[in-house]
Symmetry: C2
Subunit: 814 residues, 2 copies
């Protein structure tokens, strides 16, 4: 069985003719030559950024003093990016494209910076880097320089929604940007290095979620330059048959642009881009005008060009252009190797800068005219500074979805199911605006957000069968069994000025720990960049959590994402653990309105007691933590002990412990503090949500024992509070990695966070109960109950009825 031949027929055929105005889209010689000059200018500026700190236009002979003392940058991928950018500029003008550029290859920073400088965007956002010799000098100097800019496309780069530092997320960001932006054309260069990553490998199937009528277009350009840092790349070495099959298997029609002769490559790239744009427009017209619903075969380009193209061919006798030796700085040690300095000068002069820049150092007008103008410039596309386009979500009144809670614990509810009704109406109210999506790995129903399906469906552009439910081409719930795609799509969607929520099993959100890191760093950095407008927050709903993995057991039990999140800058992260449905509503309302944060919400999906009416819930969430008077019996002052709780299951166990202690040790003065907003625990100097030491002391006392039941790893609470006055009296219970396939209550017992252990913790820690007969009897009772539990679960595979059926006694206890 053989595959059809590599698809580069049409362009190659078109090239057979005489240069000039072409029949099938070939450009006039002059136009190609102008593109080449523009490309040379970008390449010149790229090499300049890597090497120079003076003499930026080589108007005098190059000497060592013009060269940076530390050469830190990457040349290898850059000329290819510059090639694409120059050709995209022509295509944008020729076809009036509304285009964005995503540079996947990590170290292509110099290229994207060079191009946004050439088109004028860079100087607009950074006026100190003008289009003259002084500006060029600053442009060169800042690159990979202390306090300057990194060697990747980055938050600082106009037109970028993508940090190239951690590889693999270019394509998924491109799709996120294209969703619900029908006019947008996202040109996404995928490096053959990053193509080896898991996230990128999964991203190709994003085209099964892109609706050609409703969404924009993504043009992937797979850039095969053959090498990573030091070794060959996989996709460059599997042969064109396998590669073509692979890309067709991904649902694409690949167009190959392969070669190393610039003139030939310019002609080929130009016609290929024209053909590809035409095909995309054809697909869109089919969907939009002719109502074609079959999944299209989207075109893409495979650009096979030498690594370090146009750079030094040989250095110290070793092949450099077209080799991994071009990855970083092809010429190093200039001080020790005068020949290298001469090579560098020859290399720079090979771009003929005198033809490209005028006396002042500005790009000559003929070339400047090649760039698109205004917002058509890829560096100035407003979608790439999404906060500019951001519209507030139309929000329903969250109180309308409230569970009626006549008394604490009087009714049960499923928190996420209640939230689902609110999300349904957020979806409905913003349907026309098309700016809200919910993503998750096939867990929308499992996580009980089903109400969403009353107003929308799961998205799919692949085959839909009669037996499918809530699946349609126009759905706004994005389900794919890849946390990477969920996260990446949502990031791209938010970064281009829209809103969303990611619902995920708690344990598996760790799959995107590193993507979260990069997004949090993006938020932190862009907060300090004046021309970047704030975007909507990235909202996580973590459910199906550690305490309720009744049949999945250990693999599904991990609350550590919270620890991971709070390592990031306090001004971008928020963590909420609402204890019931109404608090979840209040928290979700707040998060969906917020800007430029990562909000992590942890909430259960199982039926559980409801504690607060909606007004009390709203007030409690607004403060972030507080005393639950109805559960306390210290009369508002001078408790023997503080029982603190954070998270739905620990809150229930704490209240059950309070109930037990009240019955058995009536004189014990207890205060119950519930924490919804985890960051309130930190000192206010560490986090803006942190309460003052005075408030903390007022809540937790200065010297009484605190028994704290926490949803996650207990040491997180210690970490947040170790500077608080009463930290020495703090005793925290939480998840300590003990878990298996078992019942909900047994999970708490295994980790000592159950009501009996909590009650025992209290009894042991209140000094005046030492030797108290009632206290001793209560402790004996707890121990007996634990024994009974162990025996019962062995015999019946279930929790003790008295535990299962426990209810908070009606009304306040005091």
């Amino acid at each position: 069985m053989t595959l059809a031949p590599t698809h580069d027929g049409p362009p190659a055929a078109a090239l057979g003719g005489v240069p000039g105005v072409a029949a099938r889209g070939t450009l006039a010689e002059a136009e190609l030559s102008a593109i080449d000059a523009y490309w040379r200018a970008a390449n010149f500026l790229s090499v300049g950024q890597i090497y120079l700190r003076g003499n930026p236009l080589l108007r005098e002979p190059l000497v060592l003093d013009h060269v940076k003392p530390r050469l830190l940058g990457h040349w290898g991928t850059t000329p290819g990016l510059n090639f694409v950018y120059a050709h995209m500029n022509r295509a944008i003008r020729a076809h009036d494209l509304n285009a964005m550029f995503i540079a996947g290859p990590g170290h292509g920073g110099p290229g994207v910076v060079a191009n946004t400088y050439l088109e004028g965007t860079y100087s607009e956002v950074y006026p100190e880097i003008g289009r003259d010799v002084a500006g060029l000098t600053r442009l060169f100097t800042q690159f990979s320089y202390p306090g300057g800019i990194p060697s990747h496309a980055a938050p600082e780069t106009p037109g970028s929604i993508h940090e190239g530092g951690e590889l693999g997320y270019a394509l998924v960001h491109a799709y996120g940007a294209a969703f619900d932006n029908p006019d947008l054309f996202v040109c996404c260069v995928v490096g053959d290095g990053e193509a080896e990553t898991g996230a990128l490998a999964a991203s190709w199937h994003s085209n099964k979620f892109l609706n050609p009528a409703r969404d924009g277009a993504v043009l992937p350009i797979l850039h095969l330059n053959g090498y990573k840092i030091a070794g060959p790349t996989v996709l460059a070495r599997i042969g064109d048959d396998d590669l073509t099959a692979l890309l067709r298997g991904y649902g694409h029609e690949p167009f190959f642009v392969s070669g190393d002769d610039p003139a030939t490559m310019h002609a080929l790239m130009a016609v290929t881009l024209d053909e590809v744009v035409a095909e995309i427009r054809h697909i869109q017209a089919d969907a939009r005008e002719r109502r074609v619903v079959d999944r299209p075969r989207w075109p893409m380009i495979v650009l096979r060009s030498p690594k370090g193209w146009t750079g030094p061919k040989v250095v110290d006798g070793k092949p450099t252009e077209g080799s991994w030796r071009s990855h970083q700085v092809p010429l190093a040690g200039l001080a020790e190797h005068p020949a290298h300095l001469a090579l560098l000068e020859a290399w720079l002069r090979s771009y003929r800068p005198d033809e490209l820049f005028d006396a002042d150092g500005a790009l000559v007008p003929e070339l400047a005219a090649l760039a698109p103008v205004g917002e058509r410039r890829m560096g100035a596309n407003p979608h790439a500074n999404g906060g500019l386009l951001l519209r507030d979500l139309v929000m329903p009144d969250f109180r309308a979805y409230a569970v009626d809670v006549p008394a604490p614990g009087a009714v049960d509810g499923e928190a996420t199911r209640v939230l689902g009704t609110m999300l349904r109406d957020v979806m409905r109210l913003n349907a026309d605006a098309r700016n809200f999506r919910v993503v998750g790995p096939d867990e929308t129903s499992s996580n009980r957000l089903d109400a969403l399906f009353e107003v929308t469906d799961r998205t799919s552009e692949a085959v839909i069968l009669a037996g499918d439910e809530h699946v349609s081409r126009d759905g706004r719930v994005m389900e794919v069994l890849s946390e990477h795609l969920c996260q990446g799509w949502l990031e791209g969607y938010l970064l281009t000025g829209r809103h969303g929520l990611f619902s995920c099993y708690e344990a598996f959100i760790h799959i995107v720990d590193s993507m979260f890191n990069q997004h949090a760093k993006w938020l932190k950095t862009t907060r300090r960049i004046s021309w970047r407008a704030p975007i909507a927050s990235l909202n996580y709903l973590l459910t199906s959590h550690v305490w309720r993995q009744d049949h999945n057991g250990a693999s599904h039990q991990d609350p550590g994402f919270l620890d991971h999140v709070v390592n990031k800058k306090a001004d971008v992260v928020r963590v909420y653990l609402p204890p019931d449905a109404n608090t979840l509503l209040a928290v979700a309302d707040h998060c969906l309105r917020s800007r430029h944060y990562v909000n992590v919400i942890v909430a259960g999906k199982q039926p559980a007691p409801q504690w607060l009416g909606i007004d009390a819930a709203a007030a409690h969430c607004a403060r972030g933590l507080g005393v639950w008077d109805w559960a306390s019996n210290d009369g508002g002052a001078d408790p023997d002990v503080v029982l603190a709780c954070c998270g739905d299951v620990p809150t229930m166990e704490t209240l059950a412990a309070v109930d037990l202690l009240r019955t058995h040790v009536p004189g014990l003065a207890m205060r119950v503090v519930n924490v919804v907003d985890l960051m309130t625990l930190q000192p206010e100097r560490e986090h803006p949500h942190g309460v003052s030491d005075e408030e903390f002391d007022a809540l937790f006392t200065r010297d009484r024992p605190i028994v704290f039941a926490f949803h996650g790893y207990p040491w997180l609470i210690h970490r947040l509070t170790y500077r608080r006055t009463n930290h020495g009296s703090l005793h925290v219970r939480g998840f300590k990695e003990e878990g298996t396939t078992t019942t909900p209550f047994d999970m708490t017992v295994l980790n000592d966070v159950d009501r009996f252990h909590l009650a025992l913790d209290v009894l042991e820690r209140v000094p005046r109960l030492r030797g108290d007969a009632a206290a001793d009897a209560a402790a004996a009772h707890c121990r007996a109950r634990l024994d009974e539990h162990h025996a019962y679960i062995r015999a019946h595979g279930d929790d003790l009825p008295e535990v299962r059926d426990w209810r908070w006694p009606a009304g306040a206890i005091d």
Copy 2:
């Protein structure tokens, strides 16, 4: 352009003939019928596990009391797994295969358990679950039951090296197992749900790293049953043309086994497996006997069968077999729906258990004879209990690679480069045993482990070009730009009884946070399973770390993997931060000899001062932490302050601060404590490496200020030490998320962990220095130096020469 037709020609053709002894491998009717019976037995036991707690063979009418009160399990994928297992059993016997089974579909636990029970392995490792009615009852009851077994293939499952709970790692584990096991045949079922994950999507290209001569075979079986939890899967909905192209693009030749009629499917699967085995043997013979070096097109199978195959066709009027409704328990609420109970009984009886099990409850001998025997049973393959096969690495004497350190700080060295020379010899000494590999994402050279390439190469089975260096088909360094593949291959390799090291940029190890979690949980669980033998530790070398990302900036700066790791059980995690090359050698030697841990080693690659001679290094590492007398001037008692440090850069800054303070405040009594083994800081009751409170107090004093310079986030040190006596006097500096493209020293300044800030911290905290003129002058000096630094770096883009050139004064300071 059209692709060649779906490849299921040959088997279908073979089926055209009359059943019976076949010409082209078709089996006799009787044999197919026996396989069907075996499959029915496995399906029966699978349904039994999900539903029953009594009446396991339906020898009486089914009543509610026989059914578990909580129905927690998954049927959907199970019959497909059982189908594959039954056919693999035949193929093993027919071709004498040494085969392992990896069940990717997460919720296939009941199937793998049923099959290992049927073949007898289960009862051998769990004698209490015998091959009789009592054993069956226990087998059924334990499933998804408190304290029982999870619903995935799991550590408890004989024959498994794979926890199915977190999806995506089946195929990469399969390849890890196959490397260097030339006789092994790894049958790996990939679910169409998990196929959407990033890790799995990347894993297909693992065949470019599998050498048909040296390694075993992996047979991927892509199981398309069409649905995940509630929605369709991508690969089931892209059409056979795209799917075939995709799989060929991955380098495979797909064989389709599609249908729902059991008889037809048995015949088709049997001939397909024979054909596939023949093709694999042909490929291996080509490579081993005929020295063919072209990359083969490995066969694979696409099994397209209904979800919940043979289960209830319709429940409550809704299609169930072949639908997502079969995902979990197709029949629920049996107490409320008596009709469901009847359906369940009919379903169970449809497998005709009376034909399958004898009076005692044992599988009838005709069927039992279908399973392979002894270690040929997939549940008993010793490779799946790799500790059984584990041989110690032959280790060189690490002292032989030592840097000669005539006095502390007298020479510079690159720690990882020195380690590379030791790793080279580990590789060389174990070359014949073929049981050691180094994995990493294209960073072996970048991380300066180049010495490895003196004795081996990077592995590649794809095209190798003349310009490549250190790339060969037989290399033992596995480089792929996917941390997922690096981690997964190594896990599979270790789990099958071999050794290895994963070298990674520190920031990007977060990409596999979740894989680490699952492996750590595997280690924790298997430690408690008596029949599982300990395996070699998973060793991480994290380098190119947070403090030395001079040109990469923020995206490459994250030391948080340490926080992540220490959340896991103390008995499986170890963290080391050797401050120089000789301590790195000692630590690496220890880790490579260790068993059943995850060892995390953080070490720099840049030239840096060396502190300890090899004997001192070995002694220091053996203790894990200790006073550096040569740097202290407290005379071994009663310091004014303790300067603690952990990590190479913080150690250098601490020593520079000591040097500065000694010069400016000669009377100050300082003690320097260096920490190599991070877990020594925890109380001994929390971690086996934790030092006693007495020892901690002796090192850190009970009341003197401690200024602690740490490699990672500072709060990790607080978290580990908050129960220590002197925690109130502990002041920690570390990475606080401030970082950008800058110089090494400026990075420390940005995070207040530089020598001047550390000195200021000391000066502020020693009570008797209050008002001391020398101390005030020293503080002024520090502040002036910081000002000077800021000005200098702005002007020169580099660190102050006095900082860059700082050296520890020769000899001990007191």
